[in-house]
């Protein structure tokens, strides 16, 4: 049986305690929310914190508050998110992205905060210690070379969170709290395109909440690529939010790709193509082409990278067609294997 390494466990009841304890030794302390990312990583010895701070007991981290905007506690489970009528009616894309994460059990455990901070993934890295020893380890953990591209100076592990690209497209911000203070960061600024330093969050910071601005006038959708109807992490995704006028002309657009880089990847070009246009087939094709150019999948996930890159075009096209009002249910079913 795969077992956890030894660690000290601490369970604060308040955010204040949590950040104080985190500040004691931020580099070898980690937070655990649902544990569905951290604990497998610890069992495989990819992450080996000396101290683990459990967030489950902090009541103020959970809950969804809806006024004009939507404020979601970082400790809210994905199931709670999926069950929230507010989330579904106001930002369908977020609901779709959360509903496609992992499995029902993992969504019962996993949290939105954990999903945003999810470790980047790579088939050279998400392996047991013994396996990684057999390849001489890699740059992200215990080694020096990146096996995905041996000349690469940085780790190319993949951002595999389903909600981050969608939250980015929704213009969401997160609140980061540390013993030193509180700051608000746009989800767009939460990430670096670096498989190791993928978060701009400092090690002493706790992500407490996610705020989504008023979505009036916006429509959003999320299309995910994975092999099976459940379990699998995204290996490509399109998260799109559009604001359109009464005539269907796009006023504002956000097009973000998931799982094709070490961070959620916006495509400003695709956005520019969309703005000012109605969603004609040509406009959709041009936007999909622009998004395609941004995608930089590597050979470190399921499926072949060339095909994955091509699929970005399809995902963006499908997403835009769905937003246009095309009946995409059959296509959706064939890809997602569930009604979304």
């Amino acid at each position: 049986m795969m077992r956890l390494p030894a660690f000290t466990y601490r369970a604060p009841r308040t955010v204040g305690d949590a950040v104080l304890w985190l500040a004691e030794s931020p580099t070898d302390t980690m937070l655990v929310a649902g544990g569905t990312d951290l604990l497998p990583n610890m069992k495989r010895r990819q992450q080996t914190p000396k101290t683990v701070i459990g967030l489950k007991g902090i009541a103020e981290l959970t809950g969804i508050r809806a006024s004009g905007h939507l404020s979601i506690g970082a400790g809210t489970t994905l199931t709670a998110l999926v069950n929230s009528a507010d989330v579904r009616s106001r930002c369908l894309g977020l609901w779709q992205s959360a509903a496609q994460i992992a499995t029902p059990h993992l969504r019962n455990m996993g949290t939105l905060g954990g999903n945003l901070c999810l470790d980047t993934r790579c088939t050279y890295y998400d392996q047991t210690e013994e396996w990684r020893e057999a390849i001489g380890y890699c740059m992200k953990k215990d080694g020096t070379t990146c096996w995905v591209a041996t000349s690469s100076k940085r780790c190319l592990a993949v951002s595999s969170t389903d909600t981050a690209p969608m939250l980015l497209a929704l213009g969401a911000t997160v609140t980061l709290v540390s013993a030193k203070g509180t700051r608000e960061v746009a989800v767009a600024d939460l990430y670096n395109n670096d498989g190791m330093q993928y978060l701009t969050r400092r090690a002493d910071e706790l992500l407490t909440s996610i705020d989504i601005p008023d979505q009036t006038g916006w429509a959003s959708t999320y299309w995910k690529l994975r092999r099976r109807g459940s379990f699998d992490f995204p290996v490509g995704a399109a998260a799109i939010a559009l604001k359109r006028d009464a005539g269907g002309r796009v006023e504002l657009a956000r097009v973000v790709l998931g799982a094709v880089a070490s961070q959620p990847m916006p495509s400003p070009k695709a956005e520019a193509i969309l703005v000012g246009q109605v969603l004609s087939d040509d406009v959709i094709a041009a936007a999909a082409e622009a998004a395609y150019d941004v995608a930089k999948p590597m050979d470190n996930t399921d499926f072949e990278l060339v095909w994955r890159k091509k699929m970005v075009r399809t995902l963006v096209t499908n997403a835009l067609r769905e937003l246009r009002g095309d009946d995409m249910r059959a296509v959706r079913m064939s890809l997602a294997k569930q009604v979304l």
Partner: protein, 825 residues
């Protein structure tokens, strides 16, 4: 009839739904200590030295073992005893075990293996069959046919070259079937201890306690009679738990040394290293076919990537060529097969053992033939179905064959005639057929002993206990055992206790592999039960003065058929018989008929009776992306007789499931790092997450039809069902993809990437096909010439080399340098 044919709760159902079934890792004994294995990080290396002193000194460590303690090799086939419980001189794949630590806890053992210092000298690694063929040195093993060729065989039945040359058309097709693995949900586990008498007792998740028993006796040099192996119910096997495994031998040895229970529970990655999964196979089919779709001859070559050990590989090699002729009429036939060693975990028997790969090639080729000849592929198959009660060109004896009916059934239910070549672009249907053995006709360890034995104990309390060495791996063998006995004795299954898979208590059954249990154990059970019925009848007849031949056993009573009120309870019948004969017990055994194939290699393929299956699959392909979905599957299976239809349907659907996994997503992929930087050759993703296996959301609708024509060879007419229905799924899917978008994927798995590549090639004016382009050149050994039965052949080869010894798998040659297991049973 009371029990047989009725959908029923399985006898072990309650235990399974309450969590009371004790799998190996559920055995928690006082004083248990735990074992972890140190595994090689190198794909191929000499072991220069092992220093265990730091590990031995680690607090909580009780014992450290290395290859020194295991000098005697073992293996499941007597011709390939090429494994050591811990590697002796070299390691052959990443994950090969080199040392073991037994400690107070699993965690301590895990920490301590990291303190073992091993010095390796890396050797050149071999990753593919092509490399293997091209690399005579270094040899992965010091035995085998040549260099890194483990086994190469060639045999011919009739003048196949002339027959192909004389045909209206010649088809020459190359296929590739990637390896995959069983992925049983239960990870292998073993608990070994000294029993109170001081004898070795081993509980293990094994499908083959008998082979483990033999391997333990040999490697530990203890008389088999002083070893007890108990096969715990397997949490899925599918062939992956049919070899004796290194970890089993290691903990047995440790338990003897420590006189404490020693447990090992493998983690998922280690299960991938046990492997014994589907061989990757390259195939070339040359077929001579006349305008009407009939075959004049078939010339088949296969190349199997065996991985690092022999396992069942010699048999697997023969199996790639054994069953072509039992499905369709093929008057002349040549088969050449070659298995090579590579530095990857050993391949072996997975559901369908060696036959699904070649079945895939043959069924896709037939689809191509039908298209070329403008025949309906279902009709073409109906035309060439092998005849019942016949001998094939390669001397396989066919009994009943319900294949035509299977084909007709699925054609009708799927509305095939209105779908095939008629659905809109992107939608398609495909058909494929298959056949499979109901148990191998010859034993692995050549002898004249029964393949299955059943013992019955009848107690004056009215209780009946059935003992058999067969192993419950989920397929329902315990249920078959009690059902057969219950049926004969007029009881309910609840009235009979099954004791199975225990080498101390139960007579030998060779194990739960080769789809042999229902037929062989079933027949043995019927024999034992009939003998018991005879004794009871004598007792009742004498006591109640009813002529024996008028006695009926039904409804837990024994009574006069002419006066049903005149009789006694089943329990009274036992009392009468026990009073007359003394303590009651009977035995039954089953030995398959001697097969007519006498040539070398003819021992692989014969069976008491073949099962047959036909499947039609409907697919949807997105031509833009190659994305493939399978909404519906129709499957007809010639089961002979469904003993418990609920379980039979479960086996069919489970086979379809596994076939879909293989067709669409499952693959044992390996990674080699850039040679200038690293020697690594690793399994790409030894995890349940990345080794893709369909979920409940990935399943199509399945329409199952059971074709029931009782076969005289089977118990109550039953044939196998555990493996055959898997085989047609993979080719049916590729055939359906062709029907949908007119491109061929001549390779398994059939992934969207491959479909899209083929579509792009097609658009670019290239062949509309994705698949291997060539079949490697292999130096084949001299071909055995066997005259087909209709040309007066006697089942022997005209140029048969003299046999050195009668050994396993009927005449597989004994090679120098390998220890041969004498049958000491």
């Amino acid at each position: 009839m009371g029990v047989i044919g009725r959908p029923r709760r399985r006898t072990d159902g309650r235990a399974k739904v309450t969590g009371q079934t004790k799998f190996a890792d559920d055995i928690m004994l006082p004083r248990t200590v735990h074992c972890r294995l140190l595994r090689s990080p190198h794909p191929h290396a000499k072991i220069i030295s092992i220093d265990t002193s730091r590990a031995a000194a680690h607090p909580g460590v009780l014992l450290v073992l290395t290859g020194k303690e295991f000098p005697i090799p073992y293996g499941v086939l007597p011709v390939s005893h090429d494994e050591h419980a811990l590697c002796n001189d070299k390691v052959r794949h990443v994950g090969d075990p080199v040392a073991a630590v037994i400690a107070r806890t699993e965690t301590i053992a895990g920490d301590a293996i990291k303190l073992i210092d091993v010095v390796y000298e890396p050797l050149k690694t071999i990753a593919t069959p092509e490399e293997s063929l091209a690399t005579a040195e270094p040899r992965i093993h010091e035995y085998g046919d040549d260099g890194n060729i483990h086994k190469a065989v060639a045999m011919q039945f009739g003048d196949v070259d002339a027959a192909i040359a004389g045909a209206d058309h010649v088809f020459d097709d190359i296929f590739f079937f990637e390896g995959n693995t069983h992925l049983p949900l239960e990870q292998h586990a073993t608990v070994a201890l000294k029993d109170p008498e001081g004898k070795l007792l081993v509980y293990s998740s094994t499908q083959t306690p008998h082979y483990l028993h033999r391997a333990l006796a040999k490697t530990l040099s203890i008389p088999a009679a002083h070893i007890r192996v108990i096969a715990t119910p397997n949490g899925g096997g599918f062939g992956g738990k049919s070899d004796p495994f290194n970890h089993e031998i290691v903990v047995a040895k440790a338990a003897l040394m420590l006189d404490r229970p020693v447990k090992i529970a493998l983690n998922r990655e280690e299960v991938f290293y046990c492997h014994r999964g589907r061989h990757p196979v390259q195939m070339r089919f040359r077929a001579g076919v006349n305008n009407d779709g009939t075959f004049t001859g078939l010339d088949l070559q296969t190349l199997l990537d065996g991985g690092a050990y022999g396992s069942y590989g010699v048999a697997s090699t023969f199996y790639t060529g054994a069953l072509q002729t039992v499905t369709y009429e093929i008057p002349t036939y040549r088969f050449r097969g070659c298995r090579v060693f590579t530095n990857k975990p050993a391949c072996g028997p997975k559901r369908g053992h060696g036959t699904p790969q070649a079945r895939f090639g043959q069924e896709v080729q037939i689809d191509k033939i039908a298209e070329k000849l403008n025949l309906d592929p279902a009709d073409m198959r109906l035309k060439i179905v092998a005849p019942p009660n016949s001998l094939t060109a390669n001397f396989m004896k066919i009994g009943t064959i319900g294949l035509a009916e299977c084909v007709r059934k699925v054609v009708e239910r799927s509305d095939w005639k209105n779908k095939h070549r008629k659905l809109p672009y992107g939608h398609g249907v495909g058909i494929a057929c298959s056949s499979y053995l109901s148990g191998a006709g010859l034993p692995i360890n050549w002898n004249d002993l029964p393949h299955s034995g059943v013992q019955l104990k009848l107690d004056r309390s009215g209780g009946v206990t059935a003992f058999c060495g067969a192993t419950e791996i989920g397929q329902g063998s315990d249920d078959v055992l009690v059902a057969c006995v219950a049926e004969v004795l007029g009881l309910e299954t609840y009235d009979i206790r099954a004791v199975t898979g225990d080498t101390d208590l139960t007579p030998v059954d060779l194990g739960s592999y080769s789809s042999r249990v229902t037929l062989m154990m079933g027949n043995a059970a019927i024999q034992a039960a009939e003998r018991a019925r005879e004794l009871l009848a004598e007792g009742v007849s004498a006591k109640l003065n009813i002529p024996k031949d008028r006695l009926v056993f039904a409804d837990k009573r024994v009574f006069d058929s002419q006066d049903p009120n005149n009789g006694c309870t089943f329990q009274e019948a036992i009392v009468f018989a026990e009073a007359k004969f003394g303590t009651l017990g009977t035995t039954g055994s089953y030995t398959p008929p001697r097969p007519p194939a006498k040539y070398k290699g003819g021992g692989v393929g014969p069976t008491p009776t073949y099962s047959y299956t036909a499947a039609i699959v409907e697919v949807e392909v997105d031509p833009e992306t190659g994305w493939l979905t399978v909404p519906k599957v129709w499957i007809g299976h010639d089961i002979g007789r469904a003993l418990n239809p609920t379980l039979v349907r479960g086996q069919v659907e489970g086979s379809v499931y596994m076939g879909l996994g293989e067709a669409l997503m499952e693959e044992s992929a390996f990674r080699r790092l850039p040679a200038r930087l690293s020697n690594a050759l690793v399994h790409k993703f030894p995890s349940i997450l990345e080794y893709k296996s369909p979920t409940s959301l990935d399943m199509p609708e399945i329409f199952t039809d059971l074709i029931e024509h009782p076969d005289p060879a089977g118990p109550f007419g039953a044939k196998e069902v555990g493996q055959g229905p898997l085989l047609p799924i993979m080719p049916a899917i590729c055939n359906a993809v062709y029907d949908a978008v007119s491109v061929r994927v001549d390779e398994i798995p059939c992934t969207p990437e491959k479909i899209l590549k083929a579509l792009q090639d097609k658009a670019a004016g290239k062949p509309a096909r994705h698949g291997p382009k060539s079949f490697p050149d292999i130096k084949w050994p001299e071909t055995l010439h066997v005259t087909p039965p209709w040309e007066g052949g006697d089942g022997r080869a005209s140029n048969e080399p003299e046999r050195k010894k009668r050994t396993a798998e009927a005449g597989i040659e004994v090679k120098a340098g390998i220890t041969i297991a004498r049958d000491n049973a």
